[in-house]
Amino acid sequence: MSKKAVLSLFIVITTALAACGGGPTPSAAPAATQPATGGGPEKGGEIIIVYKDDLATLDPAIGYDWTNWPAIKLVFDGLLDYDSGTTIQPRIAEALPEVSADGLTYTFKLRQGVKFSNGRELNADDIVYTMTRVLDPKTGSPGAGFFVGIKGAQEFIDGSATSVEGIQAVDPSTVQFTLTAPDVTFLNKMALNFAFIVPKEEVEKAGENFGHAPVGTGPFVLKEWKAGQFLTFDRNPNYFFEGRPFLDKVTIEVGVEPDVALLRLEKGEIQLMGDPPPGADWTRISADPAWTDRIEVEATVNTTYIAINTTVAPFDNVKVRQALNYAIDKQRIVQLLNGRATVANQVLPPLMPGYDASYTGYDYNPDKAKALLTEAGFADGFETSIECISVDPQPKLCESFQQDLDKVGIKLTINTLAAPNVIDDAGNGKTPLVWSGGLAWTQDYPDPDDFYSPILGCDSNVAGGWNWSRYCNETVHARSKELLSMTDREGRMAAYKDLFKTLMDDAVWVPVINGQYTVAHSDKLHGQPTLTHPEHLFSYETMWLSK
């Protein structure tokens, strides 16, 4: 569930955030895949990547944003990971877990010979320690909520139990999780950075400072961290995945404005830009053939939408909500973003399993919008307001909505506010419409439930929650609970298509765009199969430099 924008968002200005974490693309299957560029990956070399935002922490239980996740993945690993797409693969686990017939028990066998960078071999107790630590309120992990479905987790959090009953080390290389209700997304949750394995002795030694003195089983080891300036990572000599990583050293520099970063890239001082190139420069470099090998455009798994508060008049009338969907010219929003987005017609983004490619949704049709408004008794239109975050280009996009709605007789007032205020107002139902630009919903993991339960489900329809439409459809809700235990994947995805179609018929959002991630890098830097990945963003483990 979720989008991790928040933290980093506030820090600056990026668009919404994102993705689940970051890390080596291909799974742990120790067969080196060939890079797309032809010619095998070469070993050695150092790269520098720069970001505008400072890095907060490398503690996998705490880090929760776009800059943190790929960096955490440098040092840590989890039981599970993704292949180059959205399929789950074993990583520290030897294979995908055995699931009991009732869907409640997951048994993981651990890969042999995985060592922490301090030299100690990992065992099942480390998994138990890691997961218990994430649930422990003292840790203050933002990810604790993902794991409350484990049996005994709530009792442990409440303090009525000293350990979590549903997390057990069966023997040194076997660990077993028991859930309170079937949840097929449990595997996705176990691939989140919160479940990356930490060694107890090092956490206890470092205390509060573990996020700055991390020890894990990942491909690199943190060498030096100069706060607010840079972090350097050396190859982990104990890494379990033979032949990886290819690079000797990775340096992350922070605090570099994208304008300056692009100059440094052109000068050859750095190899990778962590932030998208600035809009004006993007127009120039994307049209320049010399840059073809140095830029990448990857769709992100997110949807930016207008949330319609379904509890306030006149938006409690479904016809008015549908009219809004017909009235918005989404193509113009794409133009305003220099083409760095695609038009969205449904809740799920195209890369998300369960996306319905045959669904056409609401087209841009002001006449139909007007007809619907007349049917609803608003032939003369009405006045309403929308909240947008005050960071460019969001106010500009809201002005475009204003013009669109003006054509169908709706007078729209735009309230631009700082992101925290928009989140607060939207979460408490204080605004009829919210533009989620800069706060778009981005997947935590590739399962359609991640776009339902946290933002459109009844459980999230609470004050301060993310269900900005204040929408709760009991029938849909009951269905979503059933789907969490459905193991037939194809049948499940088909069912989600129906579920989301119901939401679109109910017009709870105006889905507007699906974002794209744009990256500029050195033409000598390669990855497998590309530098960017829908789940990991950057996969340092598979990056390599050509001479």
């Binding site: 928040v6 929760y64 944003d65 996020g211 300036q229 605090g255 300056v260 440094r264 946290p454 004050a463």
Partner: protein
């Protein structure tokens, strides 16, 4: 002198206390919930509540303030929510960079501002005066962000003689100091021009000139010492300005100072870090005020004597 210093230091305590209370109340009134920021958007309402409790944010404002201030007087400014490091440690690690940029910036201001101001005054009404004041106007008007990028582009990229930002090399400070100092230099030039003009029209200057002293000699012997006092006051006031105001310069040049960290803290609603940087800045403002008083006393006997009487 010492009683004067002691009195000035005691006077600052209510100021610091006031600053801390106002900042505390302002943060408390923010519509953004620090626990929600910390927890991330997808955290459940229960997780947010748990984190709020762990951070002590569910206590009353008075209790929170008392806890904070009793720790603060012992030098413990708390633990940054986002950076997961002690605030005192964070500020101390950034302070040398901020102080270095402040001193280098003021140095640039004086180095450029004083000669231009004097030259303009001496050449009053001639082309050199007009050129000097025109450049000063441009300097005052140029946005530091734009100026910084322009300098970076030319000196870092096109004729790469200086680093493209960062703080790794000794020469790294040149461009940020120039960017931060150029705007200020223009103010100093205008200030210096008008005080030089005032002094040049005084009787003692006319007498000195009548005795046959050269213009250069008059400027060095009479104009400079007398014009120094307002300049010292200005430089003293520049210290807090630089500490709080060079955020944009720090951003363009990736200079790891306190100002940039303060902005990041505000953006992430990192309460302990916001409080820490505000209180730190307040201390610096107050300290530079005391410093001006002391230096003025040392430079100008009239001030020193008036304090003793």
């Amino acid at each position: 002198m010492w009683t004067f210093l002691a009195r000035r230091i005691v006077q600052t305590l209510p100021v610091l206390l006031g600053v801390s209370i106002i900042t505390f109340v302002l943060i408390y009134l923010l519509p953004a919930d620090p626990a929600r920021m910390y927890a991330g958007p997808s955290a459940t309402v229960e997780t947010v509540a748990r984190i709020r409790h762990e951070l002590g944010l569910d206590q009353s404002l008075v209790v929170q303030y008392w806890t904070y201030i009793t720790h603060a007087v012992r030098g413990d400014l708390g633990f940054s929510y986002r950076k997961q490091i002690a605030v005192t440690e964070l500020i101390l690690s950034r302070m040398p960079y901020t102080l270095a940029l402040t001193l280098a910036g003021i140095f640039v201001e004086l180095l450029i501002g004083l000669p231009v101001g004097i030259a303009s005054a001496v050449a009053r009404g001639k082309w050199a005066d007009r050129a000097g004041m025109f450049i000063a106007l441009v300097g005052i008007s140029a946005p530091p962000f734009w100026l910084g990028l322009l300098l970076l582009y030319w000196f870092g990229f096109r004729l790469p003689i200086l680093p493209l930002g960062g703080a790794d090399e000794a020469t790294s400070i040149v461009l940020p100091a120039l960017t931060a100092g150029l705007g200020g230099a223009a103010w100093y030039a205008r200030m210096m021009r008008s005080s030089t003009l005032d002094i040049l029209s005084t009787d003692y200057v006319r007498t000195a000139r009548a005795k046959g002293r050269s213009l250069f000699g008059v400027v060095v012997r009479h104009v400079l010492p007398n014009a120094l006092n307002p300049i010292i006051t200005m430089a003293g006031m520049d210290i807090p300005w630089f500490i709080g105001g060079v955020v944009l310069v720090e951003r363009v040049f990736n200079w790891p100072g306190v100002g940039r960290m303060a902005v990041e803290a505000i953006e992430t609603v990192d309460v302990p870090l916001i409080l820490g940087t505000v209180i730190f800045t307040a201390v610096m403002v107050v300290a530079s005020g005391i410093l001006i008083d002391v230096v003025q006393g040392l430079v100008d006997p009239r001030i020193r004597h008036s304090r003793q009487s």
